[in-house]
Assembly symmetry: C2
Homo-oligomer: 349 residues x 2
DNA sequence: CTGAAAGCGCTTACAG
DNA sequence: CTGAAAGCGCTTACAG
């Protein structure tokens, strides 16, 4: 017994279900029922147990629960990156939704897309007893991890496109990148550009939805379809793509697979003395917090990665058992992609 | 996904220690000894057990181990942000080191610095049986969480400064921000600037090391010490600080608490028609992958957050038991902060 | 060097 | 509606 009045069992042993049972004058099974809000406990008994739980500061041992239940109520996120805006924001969304339901969230990083590394990462998380897995499958490493998940695992995924969904058997979520890319492309065309060039982020599939949307918009406007430039995720890679593009004086409009690439492209344009947007227009993808302060402020597509992460968690959550949270609780809806027009776009010179 | 919704109701019983024992013709206790590489098992027995483990594809049930041991070999990271460069990179470093030692890593986000939110977040992770906690305490929320961790928990922290270390009893790691800020400031002074202005990120303590280093460098050069401008973490906040600063034509050199702030400052400068670096020099902090492609390319301080994360994990790892990994294994050393000189700095106009 | 027993803190049938 | 029993898959003394 300590001074504050809270009773702690001797020698650091934490309070268990049995301590609560003793205090409440019931068996520990009854305590278990109350904890799990199972029906069939007399109201007065329930009250008493709850009171004892409160008094003793009892908290269920998740480890013991997991062992007895055969499965932990937890989710671990597998991702190839922690720093990219979309990835980090999706992780935050997943964590937020998971926390709201009391699910711990783990994280595993896919260091490389080699079969060996993927195998190791998947092995580390593929224990059905450890709960569910969410893989951020925006890249090759992620898609491979998804494919390598053993049957019997509860898995959900954030995928690049609707098509990517057909490559595996797991529930998944995706943003409407195709429409978003179409809108951005059509906007540039509407400004008077003859065509729009595309700098691509790596795709987990052969053709990404962003690229498909861009192409579809060009085709439906009877505009020429230039070969897309394949880049990585980094500003540096965008810079290299930008150098290629600036060499061609015909280029007046560039759509980039993400804001980092756009940053690199802007750098290359400035280096080459091409004015933005007077000579060349640039559009990004993501609307990271930085892009508004690029030079010039970047026109880009805002994507709700946090909402996507929340939705994915809810999907995976459903794999466990009926939700305990009241259905009428306010649920943050996912925002549709929006074209945010700023200062890198205008009519061709 | 099947129609019922529950796709993995604790399905096929996985292979246990007893199955291995039976196959190897020993008792399951012996299998346990082999798994935990305890001394006192005849070599031939050990070999046989290992062979059976391999054949059956046995993998220890971490949950059962945690329950029996009284504590999980795991670590969970508490952070106020998942997207900021330093935070996300530190998380990656922690995960990398943890993975190398087979420790699962969890993540909890501190949504807000209110006592209520902190209490909830700390409660959720403060179970000594669940393993250790690492808190990224670069902000008020983090420092409060650190202070609120109950005794008996194994806790480590990434803190802002050497002083922050004295505010709690946990092992922690920090970067030498003070020297780095001094170096950056001295560099600007050496260029001929009369003084250097400072735009501060939020500090978890009263005076951050970055700010202290900046001040010390000014004082040791007998330069005037302007009032620092308090900002947030965002580019927008840097932009607002930049607007204040551009109003004063005396300002020729600005040190920013991070690269995002520098981005906003650059934007404000450009908007005001002040040339960088001809009229005003700007230095950032972090060297995020983007800063090399700012307009102009940002002079900044490179900080090894990944190494810091790895080091913090190792510290916390020591709270469990003697390391099993051979000591002569190659260990990635932490890099000292480096001033990376690019295009935003030069002599005053 | 190896095995039998007890127990970690729960949940889940099964009785009553 | 409530309790006694068994068991989840391990580890940890304790014997031998």
């Amino acid at each position: 017994v300590n001074v504050t009045g809270h009773i702690f069992p001797a020698s650091g042993r934490s309070v268990s279900i049995r301590d609560v049972a003793r205090a409440a004058g019931v068996s520990y099974q009854t305590v278990s029922r109350v904890i799990n809000s199972q029906a069939g406990v007399r109201e007065s008994t329930r009250r008493q147990v709850l009171r004892s739980i409160e008094e003793l500061g009892y908290r269920p041992n998740r480890t013991a629960q997991a062992l007895a239940r055969g499965r932990a109520r937890a989710v671990t996120v597998l991702t190839a990156d922690t720093t990219l805006y979309g990835y980090a924001t999706a992780l935050r969304g997943i964590e937020e939704a998971a926390r709201a339901e009391g699910f711990p969230v783990g994280i595993g990083v896919l260091d490389s897309p080699t079969p060996r590394a993927i195998r190791a990462a998947v092995d580390a998380v593929s224990d059905p007893r450890a709960g569910a897995v969410i893989v951020i499958a925006y890249d090759v490493a992620g898609m491979r991890a998804l494919a390598a998940m053993p049957p019997g695992m509860a898995v959900g995924a954030l995928v690049e496109s609707a098509q990517a969904r057909h490559r595996h058997r797991h529930p998944c979520v995706w943003l409407d990148d195709r429409s978003a890319a179409m809108e951005a492309t059509a906007y540039l065309l509407g400004l008077g550009h003859r065509t729009v060039h595309y700098v691509a982020i790596p795709s987990s599939t052969r053709t990404s939805d962003r690229q498909a949307g861009w192409k579809a918009a060009l085709e439906s406007a009877d505009a020429p379809v230039p070969a897309p430039i394949q880049a990585e995720w980094t500003p540096r890679s965008g810079y290299q793509a930008g150098r290629q593009l600036t060499a061609d004086k015909q280029v007046t409009a560039i759509l980039c697979g993400n804001d980092d690439l756009a940053l690199g492209v802007l750098y290359a344009l400035r280096e080459a003395g091409r004015a933005v947007p007077d000579e060349v227009s640039v559009v990004g993808f993501d609307d990271a917090p930085q892009s508004e302060f690029y030079t010039p402020a970047l026109t880009t597509v805002r994507l709700d990665f946090a909402g996507l992460g929340r939705d994915c968690f809810r999907l995976v959550r459903g794999l466990f058992d009926p939700p305990t949270a009241p259905a009428d609780e306010p649920v943050a809806l996912r925002e549709a992609p929006t074209l945010v027009i700023r200062d890198t776009t205008g009519p061709p010179g």
